[in-house]
């Protein structure tokens, strides 16, 4: 029965939320650097999905959501600077308990976060979607609506910039 797969059905809508809410929120977070704003926009995209639930097929829900979110994001005020920060899974297997080492690790993380935040928006997106959300480059190409080679280019440009940034910092220390 075609009705079983309708997004207008509460259980289906909820299932879509459970699988897409976090990836969508992360995607928006990389764009704006604001967790609350990202969650807000994510929820608005889901409302749009609900309003159009009769017209959108279950399999197309994800691309509908991301497209709607992108459009809504373009309509918001952007801050000059995006500042991203991330949580780190705690390594209980850490052998070194030296406070100096812990501090250096923390400093490195902060510097890397800043470098990543300073990347041009679409390079930053590619890098984070690949490393943190584990998307393949092809999936990212579909999401950004560009070619696979364009995505590759953004990735190595991003990696190159990060390497250069951290390289400079290392020499400065000496």
């Amino acid at each position: 029965m075609p009705e079983d797969n309708s997004i207008c059905q509460d259980t289906n809508y909820q299932k879509v939320f459970e699988s897409q809410a976090t990836p969508l929120r992360n995607f928006l977070y990389y764009k704006c650097g604001d967790l609350e704003k990202a969650e807000d926009l994510m929820q608005d995209a889901f409302i749009k999905l609900w309003e159009n639930c009769k017209k959108v097929l279950l399999e197309k829900a994800r691309s509908f959501l991301f497209t709607a979110a992108k459009r809504m994001f373009l309509n918001t005020i952007e801050h000059e600077k995006v500042v991203l920060s991330f949580a780190k899974e705690n390594n209980s297997s850490k052998l070194s308990e030296d406070p100096q080492f812990i501090m250096e690790e923390q400093e490195f993380k902060s510097k890397l976060e800043i470098s990543i935040s300073n990347l041009p928006a679409s390079q930053r997106e590619v890098f984070l979607l690949n490393r943190i959300d584990k998307l393949s480059f092809q999936e990212i190409a579909d999401l950004q609506d560009v070619s696979l080679s364009a995505v590759h280019k953004k990735m190595y440009k991003a990696m190159d910039k990060l390497r250069t940034d951290l390289d400079i910092l290392n020499y400065r220390k000496i």
Partner: protein, 301 residues
Amino acid sequence: MEDINNDNELLIRWINGELSEEELAAFQKTEDYKIYNTIINEVDQWQVRPLNLENSFDELNAKKNKKEESKAISWYNQPMVRWAAVFAFIATAIVYFVAKSQETTVYKTTIGESKEVILPDNSKVFLRPESSIAFKRNNWGKQKRELLQTGTVYYDVKKGLPFEVNFGENKVDVLGTTFEITNNQDYTSVICYSGRVRVTTNNSAFELKEKEALQITPELYEYTVANDWSLNLIRFEKAPLKSVFDSIEKTFNVKISANSTILERKFTGAYSDTSLDQALKMICVPMNITFKVDGRNVTLK
């Protein structure tokens, strides 16, 4: 030119895990490999602050229902009802606007909670645990941007009208900078991370430039910092251990007991808010103090 293209292609293939054993071995010998590997290893451990799906879904439903309700009031469009509504509206509006002009907006965090807030002018503030900011929404941005704070708050202020923060009997004036103010019972300080900040205390005024800082309590003196602001590191400069441990209590929701000789000692350094154990080590090891954690209680010697 061709070399660069090959290098770039190699990098992508390495990331995808597509290199042959020989290619990998050759790559690992290069200078750049070390840095690329360090970056990837680090970032692969990161995640964005987890989303609480249940709460978010509940919020989503609330928003959805609100939207659906506002569409259903078509019967208000009847002419008679409309006029009655208009008069009622004007009356309440007057009361509402009078009340609203006194309205104070408050943001605060509890023990163990941190929060990032965007102000009406798009400046950003980050509240550490047990901190708060308050401002009059109606006055904001008329001639200046003014607010009050307690606890420890980091500011990223957009250039614009004069921006003033009041804390205790002190205040800070800025124009487009980043800085952090700590205002607790026994430890008050201002650290300027970029731009310029003007601090006014009881008797004197100081102008801080990038990486300059001022401690106000317990002792008034200026110093400099070497590092950028960090989300996860809470720093102190010659702070009484009592305030350092107060801060740890607020961050992790624990109770710390120690004798007064320990509490009076001064500490310069930082602790990480990622785990209680790490935090205690970072403070106690350099100070030669031993600690014991028992559930929510910590004892120091």
